[in-house]
């Protein structure tokens, strides 16, 4: 037995390595948490990413400051004209906003929702081509936890995938693993948002549903992960074959995922309400 083992020692070692790797894979996949190794790697790489990001941002700001000086005179004239138009529109909006504030206060009072936002900067991306992951400079030291929702003023960005002390990885909603329960704001018809790497698709929409190009899509709050009412995007294209049970809508995402630099991580409130008002 020992002789056999000694003869094929290397082969045994290689097979044991494969078994170990597969066990590690299935454990980290089913565990749904951040592994220690991942946390260590992210902690080690954080200073590198943060410092390079800071240097790059400084250079980018300098460059854009220079670029913005060009054509500033022309832009000034245009803006003056726009200002006159805006003043007229503003009078109308003041009236609307008074009404809006009154109603919003009523709603806030009803829901009693206190949401805390953690500001974070994007400092890196996924190391591979197959996943849409962004790395942010906030981690467990800033009370970020797995599955916290990440958004911007424009709309939903994604969720926290893993957390290390100084940084976290965000699974964007365009990632092919991402699923968001959503509804069409106009007529409350439900569907499921799939990330396709190139963009977003709303699938499993009832074949008789009335969808129009330009319909706003918001999160439905079903599933418990994403709160209700977050803007996801607008319908750009509708696909449906006669033999298919469901319609599919191709979306224009509210957030430009290639341009985002800052995000907010939402710390969930302890109330049961899913109403999100921003």
């Amino acid at each position: 037995m020992f002789k056999f083992f000694n003869t094929y020692r290397l082969q045994f070692f290689i097979i044991a390595t494969f078994i170990g790797l597969f066990m590690l894979m299935s454990q980290t996949h089913s565990n749904e948490g951040t592994s220690r190794f991942q946390s260590v790697v992210q902690t080690i790489t954080y200073p590198l990413q943060a410092s390079v990001n800071s240097i790059a941002s400084t250079f980018k700001n300098l460059w854009y400051s220079y670029i913005s000086l060009i054509d500033v005179n022309e832009e000034n004239k245009l803006l003056r004209q726009q200002l006159l138009d805006m003043e007229e529109k503003m009078n109308q909006h003041i009236e609307n906003s008074v009404q809006f504030l009154r109603l919003r206060n009523q709603l806030l009072f009803a829901s009693k929702k206190i949401t805390e936002k953690i500001f974070a900067e994007i400092i890196g991306e996924s190391a591979d081509n197959n996943h849409d992951i962004s790395l942010i400079n906030r981690g467990s030291n800033q009370l970020v936890q797995r599955n916290y929702v990440v958004l911007r003023k424009e709309g939903l960005v994604g969720r926290i995938q893993s957390v290390s002390p100084f940084q976290s990885s965000v699974q964007l909603i365009t990632d092919h693993r991402s699923r968001v329960s959503a509804l069409i704001q106009r007529n409350r018809i439900r569907g499921l948002i799939y990330g396709t790497h190139e963009g977003l698709e709303m699938r499993q929409i009832n074949q008789h549903a009335n969808i129009k190009i330009g319909d706003r899509i918001i999160s439905s709050g079903l599933g418990g992960l994403y709160p209700k009412g977050l803007l996801i995007g607008w319908v750009k294209e509708i696909r449906h074959q006669k033999h298919e049970l469901f319609k599919t809508a191709i979306l224009d995402s509210a957030v430009d995922f290639k341009q985002i630099e800052e995000v907010f991580v939402i710390v969930p409130s302890k109330t049961d309400s899913h109403l999100f008002i921003d």
């Binding site: 790797l21 894979m25 590198l48 996924s126 190391a127 591979d128 081509n129 197959n130």
Partner: protein, 165 residues
């Protein structure tokens, strides 16, 4: 020992390029897998099993910095490097063209392995589509820039392994 240190050093440089360089420079929207390229070239030139084991560490680092399923790239890197260390003498010649071709084909192989494993854990992944739109162009790109990386690896070898040679 020296080859292990060289592989480790190149892996760390590859990691730096992956996390910093790839964030700002992407050719055709593709992120070059620098770690894999260094490991492939080094294995083609030395056929040492120890590089395959360094490849596991490299793969685990890639896992940690992407999807978080630890061991996925670790397995695909290990399997690819193991295969190269066993069969490279069959078709490999130490020329720029040969090594470019070898890196191209092995990048496709590694991509196929990693996507196949990913498909096991994440059903619904469009494997053939991913192969055509992501793995194949990336492998081509990696094949094209291989001569530059090869020069760098040779420089590293001269620095670390000169006395041994």
């Amino acid at each position: 020992m020296r080859i292990f240190l060289l592989a480790l050093g190149l892996m760390l440089i590859g990691l730096w390029l992956n996390i910093v360089f790839n964030t700002y420079v992407q050719i055709g929207g593709l992120k070059i897998n620098w770690i894999l390229m260094f490991m492939l070239i080094l294995t083609f030139r030395h056929s040492k099993l120890v590089i395959a084991f360094v490849g596991i560490l490299a793969g685990l680092m890639m896992d940690a910095l992407s999807h978080g399923i630890m061991g996925l790239y670790g397995t695909s890197f290990f399997l690819t490097l193991l295969l190269i260390s066993q069969v490279n003498k069959l078709f490999y010649a130490n020329t720029f063209f040969a090594i470019s071709l070898a890196v191209f084909s092995m990048s496709i192989f590694e991509g196929w392995i990693s996507l196949s494993i990913l498909d096991m854990f994440e059903p619904g992944l469009e494997l053939s589509s991913k192969m055509l739109t992501s793995t194949l162009p990336l492998a081509l790109l990696q094949g094209l820039i291989t001569p530059i990386i090869l020069q760098f690896v040779i420089w590293g070898e001269n620095l670390f392994l000169r006395d041994v040679a």
